[in-house]
Structures are given as C-alpha cells and as structure tokens.
C-alpha cells in the first residue's frame, strides 16, 4: 500500500515540478536545516530544563509548555519540507534503507515525547522516571537526525 502511495506521488505534478526545478530542492532542504536547528535547540533546552539538569527554571513544566508551541511549529516545518524533498524522487526514498530507518526512529521519538508529556502534571514531576524518559526521547530525536544524514551518504 505504501508502495502504491509513493508511486502515486512520483507520478504527481508536484513531484515532477520539484524534480524539474533547478532551485526547489535546494530551498526546501535549506528550510529543513533551519527548522532542524530550531527544533533541536528547543528540544535541548526544554528537555534539560524539564529535568533541571542544566537549567533552573522557576516553573519547569511551564518552561516546557512555553517552548512546546515553538517546537511543534518547527516540527511541522520539518515534516512539510521533508515531504517535499521526498517528492524529488519518491521511489528512491521508498527503497532507501536510511530513510526507512529514519521514519521508524521518528515514530519512536514521537511516542517517547508523548510519554514524557503524559508524565508532566503541574508541580508533580517524578525525577527518575522523567529524567530517563526525557533522555530516551532526546536520544531518539538525535538518532532521527543521524539517520537523516545517512540518507545523503548512502
């Protein structure tokens, strides 16, 4: 079913437009990089602030929630630019091992982040569980980024 979806994308006018353009992929990829920097920064500071490891915010949960909206916007930007990059050659990405790994890791990272958010109740943060959960989520997001780099090298 995914195979059909990717094939349909490959046959679409959007995909043809991206493939034929001399600048589209470049611009899209640059946007992806900028969003990556922002998303990573938000994750780092939010995560470290939440666990009180590097930062002392008076209200840890409030700090996380305040960064959350920016983080979600950055993630939306990453997803959108990512989908457009795939459009440059959908079948190539479909079969690409590093791309598949990245998607799997992305799913796990999202789940881990959801678990962290579930555990946040104003004022009631359990230290050990949260530190472990936050660290796991951050590591998974890092793995997503590394897998993304592998797409270019293989």
């Amino acid at each position: 079913m995914l195979h059909t979806l990717f094939q349909a994308y490959a046959a679409s006018p959007l995909s043809h437009a991206i493939r034929g353009s001399s600048w589209a992929f470049a611009i899209i990829e640059m946007a992806h990089l900028m969003m990556l920097a922002l998303f990573g920064g938000v994750l780092l500071i939010g995560g470290l602030g939440l666990t009180g490891t590097a930062f002392q915010f008076p209200d840890r949960t409030g700090a996380w929630l305040s960064l959350r909206r920016t983080g979600l916007w950055a993630l939306a930007g990453l997803v959108l630019s990512g989908l457009l990059m795939i459009g440059s050659n959908p079948m190539k990405y479909y079969f690409h091992t590093a791309f598949r790994a990245k998607m799997v890791l992305l799913a796990f990272a999202v789940i881990a982040s959801a678990i962290v958010e579930r555990g946040i109740r104003p004022g009631a943060v359990r230290p050990i569980l949260t530190n472990f959960a936050v660290a796991t989520a951050l590591l998974l997001w890092f793995a997503v980024a590394v897998a993304g780099r592998m797409i270019g090298f293989f």
Partner: protein
C-alpha cells in the same frame, strides 16, 4: 607569493581528510548536527528577548543559563568547521557561498558583541513580565536573520564546488 589556501589543501593532513571514507562524513555530520546546539540555543534566547517563549523567566536569566551551552556548540562548530576548511581550502577560495558565510559569521559576531555591550546591561534589571527594550529586540531579530542566512550560505557551499 605562496597561495596559502592551496598550500593548506596540499598538506597530507588535508588530503587525508578530503579522501577519507568515514572521517569526512563524520566531521561534516558533527558540523551540521551541532547547529541545534549553537544556532538552536541562540534562537531560543532570541525568541525569549522577543517575548515569544519562556516568558515566566526574566530574559537576562534565560540568556545567562543558555549561553554556556551556546559556547559549547560554537566550539564544536568552529573545530569541525576548521577541519572542513582545511580539507577543502583551495576549492573554497573562490566559492561565493563560503565567502558569504564568513562575512555573515563576522556580522553575527558583531551583532552578539553589541548585544553583550549594549542590551544585556539594560535587560539585567528587568523582571519576567517586562518587555525588552527596542534595541534588544531588534538585535534578537537580526540575530535570527543572520544565523538563518549563515545556515543557507553553508548549505550552498556544495552548490559552487568546482569541477
């Protein structure tokens, strides 16, 4: 008259990195992924000064806590960037994207110096609820724009690789 860029490019050290199977990709990956540590943290501070995030904490406190992380990120970016430069020196000499990136880095540095000298003292006395002075907010906006352009110029370097 020696061409310093070519001289660096021709050294065994530079050649080894440039022709490596794993080392170059790793250095390049470290450089790109450290963006989150450096530019990402700068972006969060800028967004605080602009009043977009972390509004319950005074801006100066956010800046003071995050800055060590930014410096760590900068160290990693500078080191990896230096290695990439050494490996590709001769090819970069006439690369408009690289030259632009260097100019933008200098501008970003100047902007940060201005922030430290001018805006930071003025933010020190302000509580979390206060709006940052105009100069500080403009500096934060300029910082976001400059670092975004640094990233764009950095990615564009590959597009002007001579062959």
């Amino acid at each position: 008259m020696i061409d310093l860029w070519q001289a660096i490019y021709d050294t065994p050290f530079a050649t080894t990195i440039r022709e490596s199977e794993v080392v170059f990709p790793v250095i390049e990956s470290v450089h790109v992924l450290s963006l989150a540590l450096m530019a990402g943290t700068i972006a969060v501070v800028d967004l605080r000064v602009l009043g977009v995030v972390l509004r319950h904490t005074p801006a100066v406190r956010v800046e003071r806590q995050i800055t060590p992380l930014t410096w760590l990120g900068f160290a990693v970016m500078a080191a990896s960037g230096a290695l990439l430069f050494i490996a590709e020196a001769a090819d970069l000499k006439h690369n408009p994207a690289f030259l632009t990136k260097v100019a933008l880095l200098i501008l970003a540095g100047v902007n940060m110096a201005i922030f430290q000298w001018h805006s930071r003292p003025r933010l020190a006395g302000l509580g979390a609820a206060s709006r940052a002075p105009l100069a500080a907010r403009l500096g934060a906006a300029a910082s976001l724009a400059l670092w975004a352009c640094v990233i764009v110029a950095g990615r564009a370097i590959a597009y002007f690789h001579p062959h």
